[in-house]
Amino acid sequence: MFSYCTDPASLEGLTWLSCYLTTGKHMSIYWSVGTVLLLLAITAPTALLFGFGGATAARAPFAPLRWLGKGYIAIVRGVPDIAFFLFFVIALDQFFEWIRHSVKCPDWDEPIRQGNDFVVCAEAKLPLGNAAQWVHETYGFFLAVLTFAIVFGAFAANVLFGAMKAVPRAQMETAEAYGMTPRQSFWRIMVPQMWVYALPGLSNLWMVLIKATPLLFLLGVEDIVYWARELGGSKTARFTDYPHGDWRMWYFFALLVFYLLFTKVSEVVLDRIMKRLTHGQATAGGEAQRKAA
């Protein structure tokens, strides 16, 4: 990238390192940090939405819907999240292809599952066989986001379900006494109040979500783990201007430091938000703040 980088073999020390760290391949790993942040930015609100849906369903008066919500919350407790990640990526892909298959090729009469193959007609393939590389990558990323949202939605549902239950009963009774319908009291009384109770759980979930982002690698996305393995592996002078031994250890050390910084910063920010939200609240935290002031 720099002007003095034309002949890397002659460089030494820090100049060599500055050239080495700015090669085109290294730009990919910096971009993949952006992928991680993008994933977090999309997944967090989506998971919250899934969580809200799950928590609302788990409180529904209609029994089958309630079972569905409770089942959704309960299943992630017993089963490793990685299993869900590996499962949903294939399952969602096949599900989408199957839907497109049923819509686009109604005259197809062969079964979809033939032995060890999953066969849909060519028009139903996702992405289409002739699609550009970026379409494939975007589709893969989309599947990953959806998978994350489903798994973390269940965790968020658990937190929000608890928060909804934590809203004082008297508040809801007062709402009923004022003649509010269940829908009104839910949206006007319960939802605005539940966030204080949900925040500790949700901030914990955010930390968990950060720490789950390297699992993108398992979903087939070219993320930082992928690039750390690629770039860290030993390179001979035949294929690169920057030959080096096996440096994967150092690349993963850098990732370790990156995540430590990321979680630390999040912790500090979330603490501040919590302080601001508890200010003046009728909770133990708010009371402690009042006494300290």
């Binding site: 299943i75 992630v76 407790r77 017993g78 089963v79 490793p80 999240d81 990685i82 299993a83 590996l86 499962f87 294939i90 399952a91 096949q94 599952r113 033939q114 032995g115 060890n116 193959d117 999953f118 269940a154 965790f155 658990n158 937190v159 759980g201 914990n204 979930l205 968990v208 950060i210 720490k211 789950a212 982002t213 390297p214 699992l215 690698f217 398992l218 783990v225 750390a228 393995r229 860290g232 096996d246 994967r248 250890m249 993963f252 050390f253 990732l255 370790l256 995540y259 430590l260 979680t263 630390k264």
Partner: protein, 293 residues
């Protein structure tokens, strides 16, 4: 059909028979005898390559559970002691004890377990070239166990530290009044109370540690001769059959069973720890899915 041709592997003659006959000959008991201990290298060496039966999938995934239990149990038992020391260190007034304990806990709780596995594996790989002593560390049974041991120790230390801080002051004052001090006070008063208060959270930690063991074979550590854990085999079948709807639910079933056993065992210990208390003051073990690496 891809599986129609007889596949020749193993020297046992039944594998040479056509598929139709084989179905009658290989009973589920034989499959269990062949593959029940496959994950630790006993029994049939070659994995099934075609016509995957339900019995094979259940048997092999169950066989892989041996490794999950191995990692979980050993890491938990060894981690318990380090966790107690780290918790005491963090609560200590001496900065030479407190600072290392704090850093240890921050390092392992602040970074993803997945990255820790990768880093440790490549670290051991680099050390291997320095001394052959580190040869064994690159294999999963030891290397991954060390990472899991340190990881669970850090998470449990945080739990124990929280419990240490919430020991009722009266209990400690009473201990002083009875003339307890030093080791005796710790052994008879502080430690049992700490355990009692921490136990529900520690139960969750144990459950999530067992879930975390599924990451081992996806994070650099090689599965020697395809001897992997439950998720490794589930993933193998999902890849081969392109049907995630059979192996992953089987895996989920095994893990739900394991979780129930854990809750039972830890609940029994919890009862013992609380047995001196009046009925309504006892803490129940409640599963909260808010711990993940």
């Amino acid at each position: 059909m891809s599986g129609a041709s007889p596949v020749a592997f193993g020297d046992s003659p039944r594998y040479f028979w056509p598929k139709e006959d084989r179905g009658h000959v290989v009973s589920c008991w034989e499959t269990i005898a062949d593959y029940g201990l496959r994950s630790i290298g006993i029994g049939e060496r070659l994995l099934p390559r075609a016509d995957y039966t339900l019995c094979q999938q259940v048997t092999l995934i169950g066989s892989g559970m041996i490794w999950n239990v191995y990692f979980g149990v050993l890491a938990l038992m060894s981690g318990f002691f380090l966790a107690t020391s780290a918790a005491l260190g963090k609560a200590s007034g001496n900065p030479f004890l407190r600072k290392p304990a704090e850093w240890f806990i921050f390092l392992f709780r602040g970074s993803p377990l997945f990255i820790q596995f990768f880093f440790a594996y490549f670290l051991f790989l680099s050390l291997k070239s320095v001394s052959p002593f580190f040869d064994v560390f690159t294999s999963a049974w030891l290397g991954a166990l060390i990472v899991l041991f340190l990881n669970t120790a850090a998470y449990s230390a945080e739990i124990f530290h929280g419990a240490l801080l919430s020991i009722p002051r009266g209990d400690l004052e009473a201990a002083d009044a009875y003339g307890f001090s030093g080791w005796k006070k710790f052994r008879r008063i502080t430690w049992p109370t700490m355990l009692r208060l921490a136990w529900p959270a520690y139960t969750n930690e144990a459950i999530f540690l067992f879930h975390a063991t599924t990451l081992v074979y996806f994070s650099g550590f090689p599965a020697f001769q395809q001897r992997g854990d439950a998720l490794y085999y589930a993933n193998y079948f999902a890849d081969k059959t392109f049907n995630p709807f059979v192996p992953y639910p089987i895996l989920a079933g095994f893990f739900i069973l394991l979780t129930l056993i854990l809750i039972g065992g830890f609940g029994w210990v919890n009862k013992r720890l609380n047995r001196h208390l009046p009925q309504d003051a006892r803490q129940k073990v409640k599963l909260k899915p808010n711990l993940m690496r």
